[in-house]
């Protein structure tokens, strides 16, 4: 795996996994899947719904990050969804086997909703 500018090989197996929310009653993000495609990372998210989860689709990971500047082990990533009425910046990091996901939601539809931040925890599940 290489960074966007291809300068350095990084090891992504820590985050390239399937993850499900530790809270089965979450009203935010139900599950996250990261995969490597052609040397780049892609993420798929399912939003919580009353019936089947809402598929946010798959987007390219904008950037991924090692635990420090000397490390090659990727433990964090940033991705962005644009739904038209809503833009969501997603940042995830793995800590002690948990994926901690922070989502920054910005509404673009003029509704009476506040831009909001949510932080949730995900455990690994089989692919």
């Amino acid at each position: 795996m290489q960074t966007e500018d291809g300068v350095r090989e990084l090891e992504t197996s820590t985050i390239v996994r399937s993850w499900v929310n530790t809270n089965p009653s979450s009203q935010g993000i139900a599950s996250v899947r990261l995969r490597s495609v052609g040397g780049m990372l892609r993420v798929t998210i399912q939003g919580a719904a009353q019936g089947s989860p809402i598929n946010w689709g798959e987007v390219a990971v904008e950037a991924f990050y090692a635990e420090n500047a000397a490390s090659r082990r990727v433990i964090a990533f940033v991705a962005r969804y644009n739904f038209g009425f809503l833009e969501t910046l997603v940042e995830g990091n793995v800590n002690s086997g948990l994926l901690v996901l922070a989502a920054f939601h910005t509404f673009r539809d003029g509704s009476r909703r506040a831009n909001y931040f949510a932080r949730e925890f995900f455990r690994e599940v089989s692919q």
Binding site: D5, A63, Y65, N93, F104, H105, D109, R112
Partner: protein
Amino acid sequence: MKHVALEQLQERAADPGAALDPAALIGNWVNTNLSPSLIRRIQLHPGQNSLVMRVVGAKPGLPEDWGATDAQIFAENAGSGLASACSASFDLGGIESLLQGYVVKGVLVVVSFTRGKDGRERSSSFGKEFFYRVP
């Protein structure tokens, strides 16, 4: 109402044009670690449109004064009028650092995503630091 998660079905009771209350974020914040890895102090104060974030850095090789930039603010849910999180990006001349901060029980937790833009042999890095408010 368009949504991609159930939590987005909440609405604010207030005028949709009303700004979020940033009081929980505003102030001078000092790292709880006396030997911080990336950031020593953060100042958040009201700006023209949102908040302005100023950072005093602690990492060798990076500027001590990161300068000031606009920070976008976020509530804890779509129905709230209280800001509890913020996001800002700093360009440090070849290094880009995206900072995401949120307040929990009076502590400002700042997650940093830092990467080089100059193509030098250097890995991007992720960090998390904690700050307490001072007068």
